[in-house]
Symmetry: D2
Subunit: 367 residues, 4 copies
Amino acid sequence: MGFKKVVFLLAVLLTFQLAEAQSRRIIAIPDINGYKTLKCDFHMHTVFSDGTVWPTVRVEEAWAEGLDAISITDHIEYRPHSKDVVADHNRSFEIASPLARQLDILLVRGAEITRSMPPGHLNALFISNANLLEREDVNDAIKEARDQGAFLLWNHPGWKAQQPDTTLWFEEHTYLLNNNMLHGIEVYNASEYYPEAIDWANEKKLTMFANSDVHGPMDVNDGHRPLTLVFAKSRTEGGIKEALFSGRTAVYFNNTLMGKSALLEPLFFSSLKYSDAPLRLTNGTSKVVNITNNSDVDYELVLVQPGVGLDAPESLTLKAHHVTPLNLNGNSEEIAKTGEINLYYSVKNMFTASDENLIVTLSFKNL
Amino acid sequence: MGFKKVVFLLAVLLTFQLAEAQSRRIIAIPDINGYKTLKCDFHMHTVFSDGTVWPTVRVEEAWAEGLDAISITDHIEYRPHSKDVVADHNRSFEIASPLARQLDILLVRGAEITRSMPPGHLNALFISNANLLEREDVNDAIKEARDQGAFLLWNHPGWKAQQPDTTLWFEEHTYLLNNNMLHGIEVYNASEYYPEAIDWANEKKLTMFANSDVHGPMDVNDGHRPLTLVFAKSRTEGGIKEALFSGRTAVYFNNTLMGKSALLEPLFFSSLKYSDAPLRLTNGTSKVVNITNNSDVDYELVLVQPGVGLDAPESLTLKAHHVTPLNLNGNSEEIAKTGEINLYYSVKNMFTASDENLIVTLSFKNL
Amino acid sequence: MGFKKVVFLLAVLLTFQLAEAQSRRIIAIPDINGYKTLKCDFHMHTVFSDGTVWPTVRVEEAWAEGLDAISITDHIEYRPHSKDVVADHNRSFEIASPLARQLDILLVRGAEITRSMPPGHLNALFISNANLLEREDVNDAIKEARDQGAFLLWNHPGWKAQQPDTTLWFEEHTYLLNNNMLHGIEVYNASEYYPEAIDWANEKKLTMFANSDVHGPMDVNDGHRPLTLVFAKSRTEGGIKEALFSGRTAVYFNNTLMGKSALLEPLFFSSLKYSDAPLRLTNGTSKVVNITNNSDVDYELVLVQPGVGLDAPESLTLKAHHVTPLNLNGNSEEIAKTGEINLYYSVKNMFTASDENLIVTLSFKNL
Amino acid sequence: MGFKKVVFLLAVLLTFQLAEAQSRRIIAIPDINGYKTLKCDFHMHTVFSDGTVWPTVRVEEAWAEGLDAISITDHIEYRPHSKDVVADHNRSFEIASPLARQLDILLVRGAEITRSMPPGHLNALFISNANLLEREDVNDAIKEARDQGAFLLWNHPGWKAQQPDTTLWFEEHTYLLNNNMLHGIEVYNASEYYPEAIDWANEKKLTMFANSDVHGPMDVNDGHRPLTLVFAKSRTEGGIKEALFSGRTAVYFNNTLMGKSALLEPLFFSSLKYSDAPLRLTNGTSKVVNITNNSDVDYELVLVQPGVGLDAPESLTLKAHHVTPLNLNGNSEEIAKTGEINLYYSVKNMFTASDENLIVTLSFKNL
């Protein structure tokens, strides 16, 4: 038997070895307002830049963790393995693409334009040809991406290696913003949070991101990687693109959610289920509302103003996938005549700005 | 300030300390056939017999673990703490009752008639007065329970301390059965499984139970205690009683389910969700059905006969709260003309008899 | 067979059921300075006051968790179960005592004198007769304890139910202190930390405690209960008593240690193991010291002043039961001539006062 | 600033990103008989054959998991990524080597000769040049390895893809064995156990291995990867080579140990610590020996013959890093005169042959 034939047979045999049974986690974050809530990570690397895994690993990880969409964003300008890994800038996408289709992971073609600050590193998403981004002048590279229809986001704006002490908005970023060359910003990268970024996002209408920027194998332990939640009209690449350009995202890391209150508030309430039967609370009696939290998020509530005519708990954690009783005690004669009871809670792990928590109103019919 | 008044104030103060925020787990086992699937444990002890916890602890544990109903079944004949704990046989129920009402745990009044074998130990559930069960003759005690309308079950029929080598059905049990004095049997107790019991249950129309028989604090770690699943018309004490007398239970321990196929089969299928779109499988192509298992049970499937015209996996674990892909590959020209694809799997952790697994048919439209 | 005989046989049989195999955790906190480091909890309740477990449960829990000594400190003045549990104040100790001896848990006889603030609640340890502490006047009760040779500690000085907004030292406490009626104070109770208490302990020479004050079954999950570490000349009741009166304790809760630096510093260094071979660090080279942490504590270090002639990590976590590399880089020509390298780190989870962390010096021979 | 210079600066900056603080697990398996017990894995792949990680990942994983030595054994004949990854057969070793030196992981140069059965796949360890193993005839390849001084082991002898129903020893293997071309065999690979292999190892003096054969990122969850324990005179590559050629290994997977009793027995006893004080057991009394298990292995013991003059537990689990009490009860007058008590236990998770457990004798002085 010739050597070639042996090798062919081996290839057949070895595929058996790889076909191991597996299953996919479910990330329980609800859909809202008629949008699909897609769990996405738009920043990661492979051996085709300075990462240490093959592109298919990124798809397998995303599938196992329950993600909907990823983008492999290998550096254009930094390829330390190029002595051994010889391929152009589109190759990691091409390798990962068939597996992504098979596993129904949306794979967005992307690349990281990797320069010193300013403007720092930018991810170009939804490009058609990464090779054309290899340009000496950074603005030429960004323009090329823009002209390919790319969505451009500023990565880790406060990354200590580039900005040791501060997170600064440079004139260059204003230039990019004014020329349709900057559409989004990372509020969270890997394990770093940039408070300035969420406020810039609000002020300058930039779309917010939380991405893993993972280089080695993903290690999520019992938690979850940083995720960009995309509120899309459909679970398609087009749906994601439209949502990103429309600013409909929230960031999700370490049991914390950040974004616009118009998105966070329905996310909070869609996570919960409780009876809407009237409480009929009266002075001196107590009632319990059992709140079921079907999401993965532990919501941490702190009362922002005392209840009128009743005592409500000053703090309350609505634990993920648990039922938490809310105990209400009538403390005045007025309560028996109140038609609707409103409780105002600040959600300590939901932020609408760097110094602003989401305030939610828990409303219960009383009569 | 007098001593009495101090004590009164302390009582008020100390209740604050006990009011700690908590939350309740959700046991994800679906409702079936229009019945509520209630998670129940009908065998446990307190300091009022030979247990080591106060009756309220049993209610708190049940609430935290997500149970619907329990019965405290203190021994009538064995009360080693009686020097210090001075009360009648109804007292543990009375103490636990207000908290059960408050936390919406159904508390069934019960007691354990505790004799040497035969007939061994029997739990009497739904009794009205446990004190009347204190009789010298065991049959008098059981008759009293029956006449109170009790459901009677034989506990741990193969308990090694009473039956070191065997699990035996005695004439006494036939007598009880024939005189409406025996209605159910424990198939599982604490950490012991009795294969004979499931077969007797099938043969003699006894209702099957899995109970914790817990004496100390319940320790469930990451798992769950042994549970009797009751398929009830309503989540009420009456609903449970009707279901028990009608034999509508399944036993659930260590990721294993046992019961009648008419109950286990819908339990299996109600746990799962997958698309019913036609597969359109053809020779040489492959299709994936993504099966979402929304229950707490990992279902372990083994193919019992090869697919006709297609290859299906020989074994497959449908992991709890995960999505598992079922990969099907067409291997004959006939498959393209097959209107419905049926796959026959044995569920290795679902039993209908001591030596019989539940067989399920996974059906998919193909055209 | 008579009823009595049946019951006797049952008692024999049932003991089998209770004899389940178990094993005991090891709390890895090292001995120091020739003292045994005993892991102790001196505050807990049973059904004999307002707890909900039988006294033996406290011994079993302590054994399973790896503790050396406990004290059951049922309230003298507050016994809500007294209608059913009829016994004097020494009874919980008497019941727990044989099992403690069998399992080699040191059981200190104690009681909680339970009054409104001031002086609040005090635990009396090493008493000889708890019944004599039932006195109308609080000072009479405390004096009785003192005269029995008791060690007296002030429990939860900032407990919100008694001191809603503040933690205050009252004149009454000065009186107790001056009359040998107060020797220690809880710095941590259940899940509350009192910063004032550690500073009072330092200032007034009070012994520091962290206790569980557990009422229901102990639930430690993956962590550990609050512990008072006692540095004793011997693992005996006398050894503990001498250490408490000498102030040789540290408190340990949530991966945090508090105490005198003379005790915390050896605790830190006895937890670690690393080579004492000379580093021979020179300019432009780097050396690694592998530090093995054999304790249960994750030590979190922050550099308090830059290394001289070398770069050392600004922060470093010495993870429990792991080896952590300390990377040192020479950055000046001087370093090659330096005989000893000293690095000054603040240990963020070790406190010597409410606002002072332990500072440790990591010393390495260089030549 | 030129493009080259930008790239250089980026390289500097990006290394910061990779320098994340980490720590290394400790695998607690004791040294025995004056040998170091080295934790090794001699079978794994990278992108340089059909793996999906960069070679440095294998070193990082080994370091984090607490291993001492690994061998990267990329296939000679099967390199599906060769279109993109262009390098010779020594390249994965060369890339991993500097990091291995820095992290003090012993990296053995190896390769997998990958042929159809017989002889199947063989790992060649301690080779000097993998490129020379690329030969059309399998025996030429193996001879080349032998002549480079290689240790040769037969991988996954019962791998289902090659041997669907059986595990067979072929004439070819006898030829290899007789010509110094076969020295070891995998008893365990990835998640498969081959009972035939342990018996062949005993019969034909082959060294036993358990290896991971990992292709993607290593995922050990809370457990450990399959390991070959090497009992070496020194923690050096030479030490390992001498031990392998001398047959001093044991295999360790899923809390199971296999090997020669001369190695397993001291491994068992070196894991344990208990007092050697005389028991002074007499008729009708009971004594407890507290056994501390300082290893990672839960040892599961079953009594193989009744104690003489005493009752000892029929089964006992010595839980890892816990203290387990062994309860002994004197049951005859003779026991008081017995100088030494010997208990014979079978260790259910230690095997010396496919159907033989290690038997250990627990000896205690009695007088």
